[in-house]
Amino acid sequence: MPRAAAAALVVFAILYVIVIASPPDEFGGGDWRTTNTGSAFDDPSAFLTTVLDGMTFAGLLFIVASGFSLIFGLMRVVNMAHGAFYLLGGYIAYEVQQRMTGSGFGLQPGEVNTWEWIVPWLVAMVCIGVFGLAVQQLLLRWNQGQDLRQALITIAVSVIVADQVIAHFPRTVPAGTQQFGGNAVTISWPGWTNRLVDLHVGGISYSLSRLAMLALGIAVGLVLWLWLHRTKTGLVIRAGVDDRQMTSAIGINIQTTFAIAFLVGSALAAFGAVVGGSQASIAQGRDGEWLLFSLVVVIIGGMGSLAGAAVGSVLYGLVFAFAVAYLPTAGSDCCTQYSVVLTFALMALVLAFRPQGLFGKAT
């Protein structure tokens, strides 16, 4: 019965987006059908743009969440500090980019060349990868198997890291203004991405940097897949995911594999932060936000599964984008965002059918 209701709800939501939604009235007012954009039937290009918004956001979600999922899948460690790593990585990349360009705070996108984006990106990834490795070796290596205790330890780490980051970053601030911890800063994309591309579909032009976000997400997915399925390390990691004890029993040093996985997983948080910080911003509070995003993606997709992280990212990205465009906005209540409720609805829906997530293995 609840499943039938859930299915009916999904069908209704799809119908709503495709035919029922109507564009906002010029004179205000409106009813339950009024949304920010009209239905797909009325306004196909807005619909396509929304799909692209969702997919490009999913690319970014995947970069961050795949690192979270990789660590969890192999080591059963829920790295609650993933969001804090994201925050630290973003600020590191920002500082490096500021030092490289030397042009101070008001950086125009056109002033940044490709290297001035790639070097900060690499530095941030290496720093966070090494930092993550240190956390794992110092705090998580001696208590393997106690997953709740490890989660509590990473929570403690996240509290300390987030507080320290806010105390010390951003270091480069506009001339004449006071340094204020945790202020929002933006990393700049390379100048050439700062334009719109004509897609020749439905007459829409779309931001190249957002498309780059999707491309990077796909690239990370491909590289991770090749790494896990076509290399020896990947073979060992997959064996470790399936049966940790058996893998070490046949003489493989699983500790080295754990260390590599934690390094890569943490570095992916920084990767995501550089992309996310280029598209939006790095600021106080982003740590909690990205921890939530990672959690939701892996709860939906299933823990420790690459395909799950990809599907979870796409579902969540789309739901997020569609919620902004198609949730009713009738009445005086103009500025409300109900999209966060749909986050819960999406999780509830998936968990009602599969408590282990879409691609998770039953435990």
Binding site: L139, R149, A167
Partner: protein, 358 residues
């Protein structure tokens, strides 16, 4: 008298002593201490009790309790505040009768808790922890982004509209203190009673052996959902008291920092025993108060940062040294004494060790 008996009597004596001290507190300590430390500790203790109830007897470490406290507070705030000239402008300003609003807010919170619990009822261990953390973050983002019921700036003036039997707590802070004390005792007795009922016994069975309980015919999901509903009820009491104590609600009362704070309190006290809730709250607020007074406004010496860094290190130290918190240390001391005193007894280690160590 056996050592186990001695432990029970010692604990009872300490408990009664603590209660007597708590009743006399308004004449013993300063107004600041009473209001800022003790009252807050009792309120957060009730919140932590809901967390420890779920973890000690249900095997569920829930990070949703802060979110549920916030939901209760926001529900109450939206229901009681009135649209008066020059008054509060945020929220729905329904202006209901405070008694009706109090009951309605608690019922609504329990209903939401049951929904949360139903969704999470088939998740265990670390999955449950993650899922419940998302509940709190979602609740936080919801009240922040739905301007209709609040938005990111606070909804104030909640403490003005209290039911008649609660009275004027905005100015008479001793009154508020006694109300939180009575509620704390009520929650403690409720939990101690519940875990002895058939429901409580089967809940503990499910904590230890969910699969076996399911094959014995117990409905595991329903038991866990109901337990979560009870946890939501206790958290709702705490949330309502918090709204009265603080007078206003902003989304940060249910933010990540607040969630971690409640978890730290529960972990300091010990996730296995309900008494740990209030012990942890007192210890935490005492430490907070002592440290905050010593930190210069420019941040911590040498490393920089705020109070949160200290909390993080304390939390880290506790999780590393004694994952069962202060109550765990106490229990450990008694079992060490028992080993020294008599012939070695078979340690009947109930598998609520699973709460933290598995």
């Amino acid at each position: 008298m056996t050592l186990d008996g001695a432990k029970v009597y010692t604990e009872r004596a300490i408990g009664i002593g603590a209660l007597v001290l708590a009743v006399l507190a308004p004449v013993l300590v300063s107004g600041f201490w009473l209001n800022s430390i003790l009252t807050q500790a009792l309120i957060l203790g009730i919140g932590a009790a809901s967390l420890i109830f779920l973890s000690a007897y249900g095997g569920m470490i829930s990070l949703a309790q802060t979110g549920i406290m916030g939901i209760a507070g926001y529900a109450l705030a939206n229901m009681v505040t009135q649209r008066v000239p020059g008054g509060e402008t945020k929220g729905l300003l329904l202006g209901w009768n405070p008694t009706v609003a109090l009951v309605a807010a608690i019922l609504l919170t329990v209903a939401i808790g049951l929904l949360f619990g139903a969704v999470a009822s088939r998740s265990f261990g670390i999955y449950f922890l993650m899922l419940t953390l998302t509940y709190t973050v979602i609740a936080f983002l919801f009240v922040g982004s739905v301007t209709l019921i609040g938005g990111f700036s606070p909804v104030a003036g909640v403490d003005i509209y209290t039911p008649g039997f609660i009275g004027d707590i905005a100015t008479d802070r001793n009154r508020l203190y006694y109300i939180t004390l009575i509620t704390s005792v009520f929650v403690y007795v409720l939990v101690r009673y519940l875990v002895r009922t058939p429901f409580g016994i089967s809940l503990q069975g499910i904590r230890d052996e969910p699969v076996r309980m399911a094959s014995l015919g117990y409905n595991v999901a329903v038991h866990r959902t109901l337990a979560f509903g009870i946890g939501a009820f206790i958290a709702a009491l705490s949330g309502v008291l918090y709204a009265w104590w603080f007078g206003q609600l902003s989304p940060t009362t249910m933010g990540l920092d607040a969630t971690i704070q409640l978890l730290v309190i529960a972990v300091i006290g010990g996730l296995r025993r309900i008494e740990g809730a209030w012990l942890g709250a007192i210890a935490f607020l005492f430490i907070t108060n002592e440290i905050t007074n010593r930190i210069p406004s420019s941040g911590l010496p040498v490393i920089g940062g705020t109070f949160n860094t200290v909390v993080g290190f304390i939390f880290l130290a506790i999780v590393i040294v004694s994952p069962d918190g202060l109550m765990g240390l106490w229990d450990k001391a008694w079992s060490a004494a028992r080993r020294r005193g008599g012939p070695p007894q078979v340690e009947v280690e109930s598998s609520d060790a699973a709460a933290v160590t598995s």
